[in-house]
Amino acid sequence: MRFKNLLIVISTIIVCLVTIVSLTDIPTFKISFEEFERIIEETNSLNTVTAYYLNYRLYDTIFEIFVFTLSIYGVVFFLNSVPSIEKHVPFNDPVMNFYSKFAFIISIVAAIYIALVGHLSPGGGFVAGIVAGTGMMIVSLTKNIDEIKDQFKIENISSYEKLILLSVILLTIFPVLIGKRSFQNFLPLGKTGRILSAGFIPLFDLLIFLKVMFGSWSITFYFIKHRGVV
């Protein structure tokens, strides 16, 4: 047993060292500013990371959305077979109640902002969704399970999610109908630097934001329902 562990550690260290040594001759690529200018010309997205994420490599992002959807679906599917806990004791403190609501509102506002300016500054739909999810998480620490269910309309979430998923797929093939290629940015690019520019990038950011927000809400809800608050 000792011997095996030793062997594991030694062989890992060997591979690690070889990797580090082989990294020493990595060439450095300098990217000229013209290349960035071309990206802006093609996508009108000042954040070039978003330009890759939602324009050039949108195909990958669609799969990513499905990975996220499927994982949430799996969480709900498997947790439903676990009996929900009988007694759910929220933190009942008036100060915390107030501030959690406050935090929730702030998180939603921040999330919408982050989602909408994803093509201009760091951020984007995914981060925004998780921020909104965190807000809901804080609120749900202070509430009963039924209250959470009513307030966040958990039973409707799955239908919203289907709608979002459907619109994401349809958006990717819609360009075919108007004579362009699938996954192509078919909306007008607009004026650089505006929120309503860069074609469908803000639209996708918004859809991903909603998707992730609902997803993280349902994760939080089902985890708390079947496992209790921390």
């Binding site: 591979v15 960035f36 990975v67 996220f68 969480v75 760091p122 496992r227």
Partner: protein, 115 residues
């Protein structure tokens, strides 16, 4: 370059943890460490092209030394995927531990193989 070396170290520290840990939660945490190492590697790659964030300021005409956006764009995808898979795996771990009343891999493996 230093970031790249550190990221490789983190990746393999995580890998050793994944093998040697017996507790399922600790195992998943080690996988997470490994994943963070890989993410750091990609970020380090993009840092080699330049030191500024690849977000263009429309007022500045000729920005130099911008980081490479491609590794950053793809690794965001991988962060999301890692999170999704992790959440899902925790549900499995919860179900397994409630049925086998242990988190020890060896014990779960032994009992499951016998039955």
């Amino acid at each position: 370059m230093i970031i790249l070396i550190c990221s490789i170290l983190i990746t393999f520290i995580g890998f050793i943890g994944t093998i040697l840990k017996k507790n399922l939660i600790l195992k998943m945490l080690s996988v997470g460490v490994m994943n963070t190492g890989v993410i750091t590697f990609f970020v380090g790659l993009s840092y080699r092209s330049g030191k500024a964030a690849p977000i263009i300021d429309k007022l500045l005409k000729n920005q130099q030394d911008l980081a490479d956006p491609i590794p950053q764009a793809v690794i965001i995808t991988s962060i999301v995927i890692g999170f999704a898979v992790l959440t899902f795996s925790l549900v499995y771990i919860m179900l397994l531990t409630s049925r086998r009343s242990t988190m020890d891999v060896k014990r779960i493996e032994g009992e499951t193989d016998e039955s």
